[in-house]
């Protein structure tokens, strides 16, 4: 064995991943770059629940039943758990193609389309596939240099292709895709229930107490109640509506992205080939189906080419780690084919307050991801 030279600090793959994500806890947590609204969500949930537990619960537990705060706590913990799981996990990012693979695909494309003279805009790169008797087109992503799988989409906020892309949710601070859609759905569902719950029991509390000391006095004693009711009221309209919308999507096995673009409705009358035709089956598949692990090996160790004596420390086969191929800004505009399609990320879950800090360590990661450095690209969710 060769001699181990003192190395610099270990570099993990997440540090070199392209895309506009933030990583925390040494790669265990993965979020979008803008987290402000996510903190607002947390604040509202934690704040409202804190008020609820501190004031109303004490009275109601004594007057009505101790089960009331217990059930609220369960709902709250579940909502927080699913929120953190949605926010911190990999939504299903497809790693970018390594240079070899990208070149291979380019060759294939050129073979089919023929070379385009300099300066001319190349035709859109689309492959046609037939799925369950429907023709589905695969689009080529210029940023990631891959043909996107069906239902995948490139999120311009995070600058990643995401499988089964639903939308980018600023409230959750992450994309919602194949791997975290069920957590997202359970989050808005439990949040709806929590909001309704708190709202109802606030009304009950005010009613009960007003009988004893009068309405105005009640409000004076616990001014937080007013705040809670207001927050819950506005949250109700948005979150419950959103839950209803997503229940509809789940029942039909559609994504928000597809719904907005009208992929399966409208004049073409092309039917959704992914739906099983049965609501129960669709729900089961979307919410309880097998969960693929992340293919971004965030915590894998990046092989340092410079450090000598790396005998046998190859993680896997050849060509695993390559120095990032620097792409200039506007790479995505190559050939003028920006994948912007005007699809608007649907702002989702409005926060309802909750308390607690459940840390959500990510599930075990494995396998290398890609390393090219991407150009930042502001914009909206693309397709």
């Amino acid at each position: 064995m060769s001699v181990m030279v003192a190395r610099k600090k270990v570099v993990r793959k997440w540090e070199k991943l392209p895309g506009r994500n933030t990583f925390c806890c040494d790669g265990r947590i993965m979020m979008a770059r803008q987290k402000g609204i996510f903190y607002l969500t947390l604040f509202l949930i934690l704040g409202t629940c804190a008020l609820f537990f501190a004031f109303e619960c004490r009275y109601l537990a004594v007057q009505l039943s101790p089960a009331i705060p217990v059930f609220a706590a369960v709902l709250f913990l579940f909502a927080m758990a699913t929120l953190l799981r949605t926010s911190f996990s990999d939504p299903g990012v497809i790693p970018r193609a390594l240079p070899d693979e990208a070149a291979f695909i380019e060759m294939e494309i050129e073979a089919t389309n023929g070379t385009v003279p300099q300066g001319q805009r190349p035709p859109p790169r689309i492959k046609n596939f037939q799925i369950n008797n429907q023709i589905v087109k695969l689009k080529y992503c210029y940023t990631c240099k891959i043909f996107r799988p069906p239902r995948a989409s490139h999120c311009s906020i995070c600058d990643n292709c995401v499988e089964r892309f639903d939308h980018h949710c600023p409230w959750v601070g992450n994309c919602v895709g194949k791997r975290n859609y069920r957590y997202f759905y359970l989050f808005i569902l439990s949040l709806s229930l929590l909001t309704i719950y708190i709202f109802t029991f606030n009304i009950v509390y005010v009613a009960l107490k007003s009988l004893k000391i009068g309405f105005l006095n009640t409000l004076k004693e616990t001014p937080g109640t007013v705040l809670e009711v207001l927050i819950c009221f506005f949250t109700l309209w948005s979150v419950v509506g959103l839950t209803g919308f997503h229940t509809f999507l789940v029942a039909l096995n559609q994504t928000t992205n597809e719904d907005i673009k009208g992929s399966w409705t409208g004049k073409n009358r092309v039917q959704n080939p992914y739906s099983h035709g049965n609501i129960v089956k669709n729900c089961c598949e979307v919410l309880c189906g097998p969960l693929p692990p992340s293919v971004l090996d965030r915590r894998g160790i990046l092989q340092q080419e410079e450090s000598t004596a790396q005998e046998g420390s190859c993680l896997r086969g050849p060509g695993t780690q390559e120095p990032p191929a620097t792409q200039g800004p506007g790479q995505a505009q190559e050939g003028g084919m920006k994948q912007q399609d005007g699809s608007i990320p649907l702002p989702s879950a409005v926060p309802a307050p909750s308390v607690a800090d459940t840390e959500k360590p990510e599930e075990k990661q494995r396998t290398p991801g890609e390393l090219p450095v991407p150009p930042p690209d502001a914009g909206r969710a693309e397709h």
Binding site: L77, F78, A81, T82, R85, I94, P95, A97, L98, D100, E101, F104, I105, F129, Q130, I131, N132, V136, L138, I146, F147, P149, P150, R151, E163, R164, R182, Y183, L186, P273, Y274, C284, E285, L287, C288, G289, P290, L291, P292, P293, V295, L296, D297, C314, R316, G317, P318, G319, T320, T358, P361, E363, K364, R366, T367, P368, G369, E370
Partner: protein
């Protein structure tokens, strides 16, 4: 003298990478992970069509098993939901278990079938489940073979004569 049969380590050390072939995904059955069984022309002279197809078909079978929607996957999903997904801290998902099996299978195939022919399969998991990357190696000591990829010289194709 050039060794005719390559072990996996020998391959990496003594052979130089000629080219890579990428087997793409097959989306005809939806978004499930399946790979095309179409035989790449670059491998024409390197490996029998049947062996290659069998490898890909077995891999496809593994992936289908991992993504199978049925009683056990629902049970796993519901149990996980009931524990607010904390159970994944101590339990491996069915999918992960199958991926481990796949990894072993690929290593096994490499050692037994592909390395002796100067080829190397890369686990699709390392390529984001997009492609099966097959690296084609040329012997450094084989005479005059350029890295044109497809047609390797007869002397260079390790283990050609005997294996077939």
């Amino acid at each position: 003298l050039c060794p005719q049969v390559h072990s996996l380590q020998e391959l990496r050390r003594s052979a130089s990478l000629a080219t890579k072939v990428f087997v793409q995904r097959d989306y005809s059955d939806g978004t499930t992970c399946q790979f095309q069984t179409k035989f790449p022309p670059e491998l024409e002279s390197r490996i029998e069509r049947q062996l290659f197809e069998e490898t890909v078909k077995t891999l496809n079978g593994f992936y289908a098993e991992a993504e199978k929607i049925g009683g056990s996957s629902y049970l796993e999903g519901c149990l996980a939901c009931a524990t607010a997904y904390f159970i994944f801290l101590c339990m491996e998902t069915h999918y992960e278990k199958v991926l481990k099996k796949i990894s072993k299978y690929i290593q096994d195939q490499n050692e037994k079938i592909y390395a002796p022919r100067g080829l190397l399969l890369t686990d699709p998991l390392e390529r984001g489940m997009r492609v099966i990357e097959i690296s084609i190696y040329e012997d450094r000591c084989s005479s005059g073979s350029s890295s044109s990829g497809s047609s390797s010289s007869s002397s260079g194709g390790g283990g050609g004569a005997g294996g077939r």
